[in-house]
Assembly symmetry: D2
Homo-oligomer: 376 residues x 4
């Protein structure tokens, strides 16, 4: 048994989920010889980060990123900061020889993302990106069913991630609405998850044709709500995607979709059937397969059986899990990879590819034509 110290950078909603996940890893994965311990949390506002650390019993806190990272008892840096700080924090972590887990999107540009991948690879640290939805039992089951050919050769994908957090125009111009800090809007925040699931379930995307839109062009400044600032990131995006294996499909994202929350839905169709999944009902999977009975139709699988991926670690038989449990699995697998001294996937290569796809989408929007995805 060996303790592994973690520095969490960021104490927002995401950082808080990470903390919970780290702390519950060993309950669900008791066979791990690694004991992950969150030792320090970094944030930019002293009072807030202090309050967070005290509230959740984290031994140390800091507003100095270097300090938080470089300590000897820290082996893993978990980057849960705004997008524009992902590469900054990651480079510091690598320079200090620390392993890194980074939130999505990996970086605010594809160029930076590929550089992060290159430097992480060269340094030999264990790198991972937090694509937590990959790890949910229903998605793992979907992947397994596709792999064993249950729905045949895949020829179609439709995915969307709709949120309404930006639907209210009076919401302030936070970093997500500024290109310099976010890289892109709903594309980097939401579509990136769809892209990741598309790649996980169907394969690599080679070409895109896309259109975006910013409907709410100005928002009140956080520092002075009587003034407004310009939104220069996308509110909505739609894209056609072409896969290496010949499949086609669409990806859609929105942050202004009234009444849609966590509406991450995917459909994968093949030559023998299809699969549908929606994050709102994350424990269910819809599956259609040809069947010899005359009375066929799509099945609603409740993915809470001990036979289903990871479920035996949760609450068999049959208790629905929650969204945050996906983080627990994601991080547990990271530490398993560490224990077994092998790569973790999805890692920075996935992160960089996902950024390349976004890059191609943005370019397609600008140029009004289909764009190939660059894989370097």
């Amino acid at each position: 048994m060996s303790e592994v110290g973690i520095a969490i950078l960021g104490y927002g909603d995401v950082g808080r989920k990470h903390l919970y996940a780290f702390r519950n890893i060993r309950f669900h994965f008791p066979e791990l010889s690694i004991v992950p311990i969150v030792r320090v949390v970094y944030g930019r506002r002293l009072e807030s980060v202090k309050a967070f650390a005290e509230k959740y019993g984290i031994p140390r806190y800091s507003i100095n990123m270097d300090e938080a990272i470089r300590s000897d008892d820290i082996s893993v840096v978990d980057v849960a900061l705004p997008n524009y700080l992902h590469h900054v924090a990651t480079f510091k972590a690598i320079d200090n020889g620390k392993h890194v887990i980074c939130e999505k999107p990996l970086a605010i540009t594809a160029e930076l993302a590929w550089e992060m991948y290159q430097r992480a690879k060269d340094s030999g640290v264990l790198h991972g990106v937090v694509y937590n939805y990959r790890w949910l039992p229903a998605i793992q089951l979907a992947r397994k069913l596709i792999e064993i050919g249950v729905i045949g050769k895949v020829h179609h994908f439709r995915g969307m991630y709709l949120e309404d957090y930006g639907a209210d125009p009076s919401k302030p111009l936070s970093w997500r609405y500024r290109k310099a800090e976010a890289g892109s809007g709903t594309l980097g925040d939401n579509a990136t998850h769809v892209i990741d699931l598309a790649r996980f379930l169907v394969g690599e995307i080679v070409e895109v044709c896309a259109k975006g839109a910013t409907y709410i062009c100005e928002r009140p400044l956080p520092e002075d709500p009587s003034k407004k600032g310009r939104v220069d990131t996308d509110d909505e995006f739609v894209s056609i995607v072409m896969f290496r294996n010949g499949a086609i499909g669409t990806i859609e994202a929105s942050r202004i979709a009234h009444g849609r929350r966590n509406w991450l839905e995917i459909e994968v169709r093949g030559t023998k059937g299809y699969i549908v999944w929606n994050l709102n009902r994350l424990n269910e999977l819809e599956l259609f397969i040809e069947d010899d009975i005359q009375s066929n139709g799509p099945r609603r699988i409740l993915v809470t059986d001990a036979k289903h991926p990871y479920i035996e670690r949760f609450w068999p038989p049959n208790a629905p899990i929650g969204l945050v449990d996906g983080f627990t699995i994601a991080f547990a697998e990271y530490f398993k990879a560490m224990e077994e001294k092998r790569e973790y996937i999805p890692n920075f290569l996935d992160g960089a590819i996902n950024c390349s796809v976004i890059d191609a989408m943005l370019k397609s929007w600008q140029e009004g034509k289909c764009i190939e995805v660059r894989y370097s």
Copy 2:
């Protein structure tokens, strides 16, 4: 009360639905002074058309299109033939001074469709295209709700029409799989309905970016199943669509989607809410609107109330109607327009525009870039 004689051209599944609809118009619309009477059915195979006429009690049948059309007791020609005969039959009808109802897509090319529109307009006959889904009560309600601003300004549309009739590769190479006879594949057969609903609910489409795919490239020849012929129409299509009013969206169609039948689904999102409808549950409409109650969520409206469009003519209170009832409404409205000596909408202008959108989608696929829709 005046009888109006109808010649139905075509006695397939579609012609049969038309016949049923014509016969039930006066039950649901007893105030009409017009009494529509189907007097003749035309078909290309003598025995079959004769059998059809006898089975359903149609007074005359013919394998001579001119003969079927030109008779003095025929006022309306209903074209329910394969796509490549739409313009042929329509031109004959117009030349004989008959009113025309034509199935979708209006023609196998946009050029022919615009010519049909021009000639129908010049001749003064009453022209209509059979976009039956427009007329379903749930769609009529959706239109009404959008018009009165319930979901605000529309900024997004997603529509798809998925079928599986072509999923089996052993299905013969019928006219739908040949470009010369069908014009296009799932695009003209299925996507055209989505395009029509998009225009009906959101507005005109000005630009598209599209990709198609033909996965099953050969099929057995109907005349000799031991030989195969080439499929040169699309099995699947995805397209981005840009609306004149600034909305964006996607349209998707497939004829090889295993397990999806009559899966015509649309979502319209606006600045205040959204609407979802699916043909499989044609009597329901999902509506999300902001609400002062803390406990908000999308509503499932059962569109079977006497207050809902057309329902008082069917089975109030509360009996679900069937798909074919949409044809009855479509045709009743055609005769109402005749009675009131005004245009019927959707007419050949709609038919031509819908063909222009398809044309642009095909061109976009070929050229790998976004294409403007031509409105002439």
Copy 3:
């Protein structure tokens, strides 16, 4: 080909549905040698029945029931009158040697219902009761699946029929709210359908334990809304049912269930799986069966395939039908039985048994104990 003259007694919502169904029988069942013709409609108010006849093109109308029934060109009497007139009209029909179709419930008491059965049987006329839901393709498929053992031995049934037509206390005291005219409330109006489906799918009911409630005890008098009259029929009913084959279950009905309309839902569970159906989605059937694939779950069958019962007569492939089509099938089967000179089922025996079950439920409510159903 022989014409069979029909007298419809009653011109309300139900009579109108019957008329529509009679007129469409031959379209869907062209092989019938019988041509059903509605020749006369009877009603109690001259102006209304005249208007109905004219609106729908029925040759004759009458406010004299005997006159409407006894005419030589009438072979079938269709009773679509308020419950308390069912036996009156039926006895007249039998006395005149006419065949009878009667709406549910067969009579306002079980005694009368059994007398109707006895007299119809003795007279040799063809008797049938309108349990239209039995005939819907999804229910027919359910029966077939149960018969071939797909869900094993049935051990459980749950059925309910919820309506909201009586939810508004300002609705007048029509005949449905008076025991003398209706026999019972939601029990005879709605629960009777559930009882019929239970018997059709599971088997005979031998014992019941039931409770009813009348929540809205007074309603405005139709003749003078400023005064109120007492409601002496049930607004809601719940019952335990015990089947001859050992299965147990519950039946529930309401006419004051806000937001529930045509909410007729049944679940049949057996030793190998279950079936669920809801009238709101009448073209669907949910089926769960054990399966060798690890990924099992209930299937949503779209009962619109040509292989499904009756669908080839409607709109194959895949067009949802409407509720009223169930009447068309019910009546077509009645005339098929007439043609083939055999019994029609469900007939007055079924009608009488269903009334006996209701009788037992009422008695159980009164006596506070379980009551055996009398089969005579």
Copy 4:
């Protein structure tokens, strides 16, 4: 801040969920001054309990119940043992002056349950029963909506809890199938939750009429599967329930319902609307209320908003929680009550009443008549 030591009795699926919940209380309820610490686990098999303690890092384990309970550093005894040990363990806890949390059903007979209540009350310890579903945010919201009158006066309840864990006849005759150890079958295991929710949402139950069934009458003996033993507890149960406030309804439970897992579903109907909830989709609530818009229908509320009960403590905005989180809330509220020196509800009084209802159901089954529930 004060540590409170807990002894968990039982290390099965339920005990494991309790452990998880105890450990996550302070994450979600950081304001608590109490720090719950699980110090010992008791079990009947040494090796197993030892393995459990080691796997999950519990400091002590024991096969001596007295020893586990009486230690000075233990303040709370959590009883997660088979039903027949609930009273035994509880009496020991009370005798040692410990607070008690006990799993449902409180006891194997109503008599014992009332005695437990009396002794707990007299002793002054803090007593609670684990009705975890009460605490789920969707149920809490339902209660709140009902309390503020959103659905009007409640007049109907339907609830069911269907499981399939006993559907396979080859499953061994564990304690759940023996009356001496379980008290009852699906009634005490599943229906008890429905009863508790019915009381929580509607009010006290005063009378029941019920029927049960045991379909699988023999099962292999755990100690020797070649021999079979008799099952003397119920596989299925249906009951009519009459509430003090005049509402009526039904409760149903099964442990042999193929394809139904965690199918705990409730419907509460009132004079203005209704509420439906299903544990399979525990983050959703269906609500129908009258509305001035013509386009009304039941809403699907996603109960994951910060405004919803407890959600701010989990993952706002909008992340679905899991079933086990209900235990966390249940226990957190127990410690809050401890901190505030007040009663916890649901406590042993609720546990005893719920047992009385079960008792009345069993009696009603035996006697074939309605039975009043005894409240002492």
